[in-house]
């Protein structure tokens, strides 16, 4: 099995370094290695990750919004045009026609078909 923490040999450093000197110097450098960042590093990392994640979600939403808005606007215009074309003679205003709103009169509002639905009205008045 391979040693996970291989030690040093004089071959690693050239033949002019005796192994005792290598070991002493290696140990010294290893012992003097930095042991960590300033206290609170974990919290700082987690808050950075969170803000990065929030920014990513925001950017993704913005990207989708920008992609969807032109399609939605085009679909709305098409539907409004279709409605207007079908109801231009029966509707009161252009807006009513675009929104497919039928002309409303007092008599029409109290018609059985309007109150109970066309099926019921048709069965009662053959």
């Amino acid at each position: 099995m391979t040693d996970p923490h291989p030690r040093f040999t004089s071959d690693d450093f050239g033949s002019d370094h005796p192994s005792a000197a290598i070991a002493a110097l290696s140990a010294l450098v290893r012992d003097g290695s930095p042991h960590g960042f300033d206290p609170g590093f974990r919290q700082r990392v987690l808050s950075s990750v969170k803000s990065h994640r929030d920014a990513t979600i925001g950017a993704a939403l913005e990207r989708h919004f920008v992609r969807i808005v032109p399609l939605a606007a085009a679909a709305t215009l098409l539907l409004a045009g279709y409605n207007w074309w079908g109801g231009r003679t029966t509707s009161e205003t252009t807006l009513d026609a675009a929104l497919n709103l039928p002309r409303v009169t007092l008599a029409a509002a109290y018609e059985p078909a309007q109150l109970f639905g066309a099926t019921i009205a048709a069965s009662e008045n053959p």
């Binding site: 290893r30 290695s33 590093f41 987690l46 990750v49």
Partner: protein
């Protein structure tokens, strides 16, 4: 207890969005990342930023980590690449106000305690200062080979250079370190347990 969970368990939890599990991984590998980043850049805001960036990139790549190498090696690899990039940026920004070939100062005589021990903080500062005086390529080899005790092959893989290059850089770096740290090597027989 989540603090005692294995890396694989913590990774699975972190992938599912558990920030506590990711926090435990940060705690577990902070020392390895700090040794790499501070060893390469020295202490300061830049090292802290690169340390954070290392873990942010790791978090972003959680789903891509396949476990081909150990988690420590994976993080050290990211930290080393980011440190080298930071050194390049620093180099471009400073345009070398200081001549790299300036004469190397030898470390002062160490303050040795009654039992022959060397002050741990003083030793850390002196070693980090000596490593910081090395050129970036030699420093990278010292950080991986001596701080982390990676093998020559692993060091070569992380740095993307042939093994022979690692050996020659290490040999040259050791000669420089030997010159700078000679007084401490002699006093090092009684290093305190706290820094072992």
């Amino acid at each position: 207890m989540i603090a005692f969970a294995s890396d694989a368990e913590l990774l699975a939890l972190a992938r599912a969005g558990d920030d506590r599990a990711f926090g435990v991984l940060v705690d577990r590998y902070e020392t390895a990342v700090a040794a790499t980043v501070i060893g390469m850049l020295g202490r300061g805001d830049e090292a802290e930023d690169v340390g954070q960036e290392t873990f942010i990139r790791f978090h972003r790549a959680l789903h891509n980590f396949r476990g081909d190498s150990s988690l420590k090696t994976y993080l050290v690899h990211i930290a080393m690449n980011l440190s080298i990039n930071a050194l390049r940026r620093r180099r471009r920004a400073l345009l070398r106000f200081v001549d790299e070939d300036d004469a190397v100062d030898v470390a002062p005589e160490p303050r040795v305690g009654p039992a022959g021990e060397v002050d741990a903080k003083e030793l850390q500062a002196v070693v980090q200062d000596a490593v910081a005086r090395l050129g970036a390529k030699h420093r990278a080899v010292v950080v991986l080979r001596l701080f982390h005790e990676y093998s020559t092959r692993e060091t070569a893989q992380i740095l993307g250079v042939p093994e022979g290059t690692v050996l020659s850089r290490l040999s040259r770096a050791m000669k420089e370190l030997e010159t700078q740290l000679a007084p401490y090597v002699q006093a090092g027989a009684a290093l305190p347990e706290t820094i072992r």
